[in-house]
Symmetry: C2
Subunit: 346 residues, 2 copies
């Protein structure tokens, strides 16, 4: 009889348990696993291994006479050590690309379709965070009077986004003065993120003392309109319907809790903003989430880049029993396609 490394046998059985459970949503018994291995081991042997895995807190039994189900820790081990990358089919890629690169859609449309693409392919709910303007780098500004009391500022960022801001102004600013201010701001603000503009100008204001002060003050007033610093983090959501097909939500109460968590958005927003700083795919399984509302869910996030700068993030959320491999590849793919599309949109 061939000698098998016990460690590795435990691994492959855990792997089989996770994949079978993800697939069927029913606790998996020793018989099923034995068949999966074409009876290379007897159910009894597998039961022994299962007892070990349960000892290690990687799997558990919902009740005494049921099969095993992976624990959060079990999924974590699976994701970290067993998961092998899963490629998307041509068909799947084509569906995603069609949704994201649809002609004639504005940014909101693209965001909405990206979240729909996530949920459609992964069969869990999808989230997309809009490009964060505050993180975008200032490139160019144009100012002009639209009437006696209002000035329109148009700001371009290096990642290609445009931000408008109208401000009311009591005293009339001459065209000449406006041009000087425009020139000044353009030379001064290059390379600064939109979120930093305010504090940058304030600092500048403290340094300058002479006649330049009034000029600078006025320039700042024009820019410091609340509009520019408004919250620009919005979450697009899709997949409420498809999530309901999972048996974990057969109980309407759990379904409601899940939907409430999705609509609350605050928790997810802060998670995404946090995860955005690290590149690539991040996974939060069950109780690993600090947010108590999603402690029986898993959240997978991925940043996306426009012109090589991270400006936003996308996410998938569903029961801990999800196809992690697939979700990861889908998010990676969509992140990259979304970035490309946004570059094109300008």
């Amino acid at each position: 009889m061939k000698k098998v490394d016990i460690e590795s046998r435990q691994k492959s059985i855990l792997n089989a348990i996770v994949e079978s459970y993800v697939d069927t949503a029913t606790p998996v018994g020793s018989r099923v696993i034995a068949q999966r291995f074409r009876n290379a081991m007897s159910p009894a042997t597998i039961r022994n291994v299962m007892a070990d895995l349960e000892e290690m807190d990687l799997i558990m039994q919902p009740h005494t006479s049921a099969g095993r189900v992976p624990t959060d820790k079990g999924y974590r081990f699976y994701v970290d050590s067993l998961l092998e990358p899963k490629h998307l089919t041509r068909e799947e890629e084509s569906i995603i690309n069609k949704l994201i690169h649809q002609v004639g859609g504005d940014i909101e449309y693209v965001m909405q379709n990206a979240s729909k693409a996530i949920s459609l392919i992964t069969n869990v709910a999808g989230f997309v965070l809009t490009p964060r303007l505050k993180r975008s780098i200032f490139k160019h500004i144009e100012l002009f009077n639209i009437d006696d009391s209002r000035i329109l500022a148009v700001i371009l960022t290096t990642s290609g986004f445009v931000k408008n801001s109208i401000m009311e102004y009591e005293e009339h600013v001459t065209k000449h003065e406006l041009m000087r201010i425009t020139e000044f701001l353009n030379s001064e603000l290059e390379g600064i993120s939109l979120g930093e503009i305010k504090s940058y100008l304030t600092r500048k204001l403290l340094e300058e003392r002479d006649s330049f002060y009034t000029f600078l003050k006025r320039a700042m007033d024009i820019l410091a309109v609340p509009d520019l610093f408004r919250a620009d983090d919005h979450l697009y959501f899709d997949g409420a319907a498809c999530i309901m097909s999972h048996p974990e939500f057969a109980d309407i109460k759990r379904a409601r809790l899940f939907l409430r968590a999705c609509e609350d958005k605050k928790g997810l927003l802060s998670l995404l903003n946090q995860d955005m700083d690290r590149e690539g795919v991040k996974i939060h399984i069950g109780k690993e989430n600090v947010d108590s509302e999603v402690q029986d869910m898993s959240i997978v996030t991925c940043n996306y880049e426009v012109n090589n700068m991270t400006v936003g993030a996308i996410a998938a959320i569903g029961p801990t029993r999800m196809e992690y491999g697939k979700v990861i590849s889908v998010l990676k793919h969509i992140s990259s396609e979304l970035g490309k599309e946004l570059e094109g949109l300008g």
Copy 2:
């Protein structure tokens, strides 16, 4: 014994049935109604009236030994002839106003919060359609080169919205020429809706034949960027969770169908675009909806105005058993507050 107009007694009993059923979600029997009228009539009498109402197809029995439930036709009669306007409480108004007039939010934020306000107060799902730019009236345009090959157009509308559009352009347009084009477009397009600009300029192009042609052609090319004519109709949605508290969705299958209908958006979009043309509240009960997916739901819509022009619409969707009176007043109130807020946002 006092003589009572039979017509009016039928009405008041139908009214009682509808209100009791909306309130309790259980088929209402003759005893309950009798108690509602403080036993002014006996259950037996009421049963006779109920038989009449059933004859008229205003109410029905889910099964032989159950109480009565209003039919679509019954709700319609109730809404048209029995419903009395319901005022919002101070508290409710304050919740709505806080949500909509929150400082530091951009348009998307306001839309999202408006839909949340609808669902929060009415306890059914809320929809908000973004301001339709195509319906907005052209007021002013500014054009400038952002680099050698790209021109940024900023269009202002009379309702106060701003629309950006960047276009790629092979040959360089001089600053002087750009100014001439700007002036031309500003004088020419005043009062035209954004949706009509393209056809207007095309018509103009056919009339002109001389040297002006090239100039006009160029102006049009700049404006006719696809971006300007992109789909700008987005639906914001909230209340998936709260809709789940209704017993009609105890069956997960119906819940899924409802969510699918909400996420599909196409049907709702066309309904809203249609309803927008008439002012005020419009109600679609159950089978009155052409869309088969929502034939067991009711949809209530209301347009909203910015600077006295209808630019968008809001809606509530839920089971036919909904508090029509309340939903109507909430939509009216939110429509008006939303309009005000958007005027302020500029």
